[in-house]
């Protein structure tokens, strides 16, 4: 015997809202087939055709933005579309940290340069 007192109340599939998986087409209450498109023909920031509504948060910028534009030019059924977006995410974080702390970025860059010079000299001596 089931421990749940409401057991079986939705046993009949007819009571389950998602059965069948697709209902016969019918207009949803209060929906209207209104074109709410900004008819300017421009693509979205992701380079896609605009849908009637679209997000406007965090427009792409910098190197990460260029990587995102490149990614969206690749159809999404190719893995490189996603890999490029993930790379853009990581670059975005780095760019953000540089913008927040430019002094540290300069120091890190200088340190990397000195390290590279030292390594080149060491290799040259060999």
């Amino acid at each position: 015997m089931s421990p749940d007192p409401a057991s079986g109340i939705d046993q009949d599939p007819a009571r389950r809202p998602g059965v069948p998986a697709e209902k016969p087409p019918h207009s949803q209450p209060h929906a209207r087939n209104v074109a709410q498109v900004r008819q300017d023909g421009r693509p979205t920031d992701a380079g896609q055709a605009r849908t009637p509504v679209f997000g406007t948060a965090q427009p792409p910028r910098g190197l990460s933005g260029r990587l995102r534009s490149a990614a969206y030019a690749i159809p999404e059924h190719y893995a490189r579309h996603w890999l490029l977006l993930i790379l853009a995410d990581r670059v975005d974080v780095l760019e953000h940290r540089v913008r927040r702390r430019p002094g540290m970025a300069v120091a890190a860059g200088a340190g990397a340069l000195l390290g590279a010079v030292a390594l080149a000299r060491a290799l040259g001596r060999r």
Partner: protein, 383 residues
């Protein structure tokens, strides 16, 4: 307004942002009263969802009060209390007409895989989410559900996502009377999937996890048998033993891409840049009986996931997965809540002001303080 903003993997902050504004005639602006942190938000938090941009506000489980409406909105007025489905849907496209609001064609210009979602990266349209003081709600006549005057926000908050999601997970399993159902994952979605399995007439429900406080809660809340997979040598073999050697009739994957428990999947997840680990799905396919059903409600992402599709084919399995099309479930599940059959707010373990959102994410991600479900209160309210 104050809003949570992503800064990088495992780093979110509360910042000041411009208030959202009406951008399309069918928009509404909602003052957020409750915003929950979802298990799928952790995929964003960990930097695993492609096109998650610095500054993005997460949050797709929201109740609130309508603040302002666009000129084309007819069913909502300022002052109306609403619970907002996590799907952004138009109500009139090919998919919405068939009830499949998660697949709306008119709200996500960035991908053909899924419709628009609040606060879930630019992969799902680039809409800032509701872990903030205000939220822009497109197609306001089609999505938001008015909260009845006799219901409080906590009781209906989870109609936005996790309760219909758990219910759809069970529904996709096509559970028949007295069948044995195994639910992988004792987070809130898994708990609601387990409850829903009983409603659909299951004869036994077995829940699997590794976190002790979650297993205990599952036994109390959903009245299920439990398996701690860290305490058995082989969870697939163990489930078969529990079911007379045949395997459960239905397995529900309510974990998704951040599954733990397999070193191989974790390693490959990093080196092959997979969107996480699919070991729970592997267990589900392995454990379910031949000709059984596997329901996938845990979130996975592109591009690759190691899935034993050959095993699935040879066993003759039915695999069904989907993002939940929330709107079609809301009236039905509201009645279950009102009748006391599902105590949805019982899964809330923490209520925090928005300023403590980073702390909430850290606690939730690391399963500290017996955290099960954390709800943010961006505009105050009972904590």
């Amino acid at each position: 307004m104050k809003a949570l903003a992503y800064q990088g993997p495992k780093h979110v902050e509360v910042v000041t942002k411009p208030d959202p504004r009406i951008e399309h005639p069918g928009d509404a602006i909602v003052r957020v009263t409750r915003a929950a942190i979802c298990g799928s938000d952790l995929h964003l938090y960990h930097g695993l969802v492609p096109d998650t941009r610095v500054g993005h506000t997460f949050g797709h489980e929201v109740t609130g009060v309508v603040q302002e409406v666009g000129r084309a909105v007819t069913t909502l007025r300022p002052g109306d209390r609403v619970v907002v489905p996590f799907n952004i849907s138009c109500g009139s496209c090919f998919f919405c007409e068939r009830g499949l609001t998660a697949s709306c064609d008119r709200t996500n210009p960035n991908s053909q895989i899924v419709g628009g979602v609040y606060g879930y990266s630019h992969l799902t349209g680039g809409y800032d989410g509701g872990q903030a003081e205000y939220l822009r709600v497109p197609f306001a006549d089609a999505g938001p559900f008015k909260i009845p005057d006799d219901m409080d926000d906590d009781s209906v908050l989870f109609l936005s996502d996790i309760l219909p999601t758990g219910y759809q997970a069970a529904e996709m399993g096509e559970i028949k009377a007295n069948e044995i159902v195994a639910v992988f994952g004792c987070g809130p979605v898994g708990l609601f999937a387990a409850k829903s399995a009983w409603l659909m007439g299951a004869g036994r429900v077995i829940a699997i996890d590794s976190v002790d406080y979650r297993l205990q809660f599952a036994r109390r809340f959903a009245r299920v048998e439990t398996v701690d997979y860290t305490q058995v040598d082989d969870v697939v073999a163990h489930l078969r033993e529990m079911t007379d050697g045949r395997g459960p009739d239905v397995c529900i994957d309510a974990v998704g891409l951040e599954a733990s428990g397999s070193l191989m999947h974790k390693a490959l997840g990093v080196t092959m840049l997979q969107a996480g680990a699919a070991n729970v799905l592997q267990w589900a396919i392995g454990a379910v009986r031949k000709a059984g059903n596997v329901s996938i409600i845990g979130v996975y992402g592109p591009p690759w996931n190691l899935v034993p599709i050959g095993v699935a084919m040879n066993k003759g399995l039915t695999l069904r997965g989907a993002q939940c099309s929330v709107r079609r479930y809301m009236p039905h599940l509201l009645e279950h809540i009102r009748a006391g059959r599902i105590d949805a707010k019982a899964v809330i373990s923490h209520r925090l002001p928005l300023d403590d959102a980073a702390k909430g994410y850290h606690m939730f991600a690391n399963k500290q303080d017996d955290c099960l479900k954390c709800v943010l209160l961006p505009n105050g309210g009972a904590a």
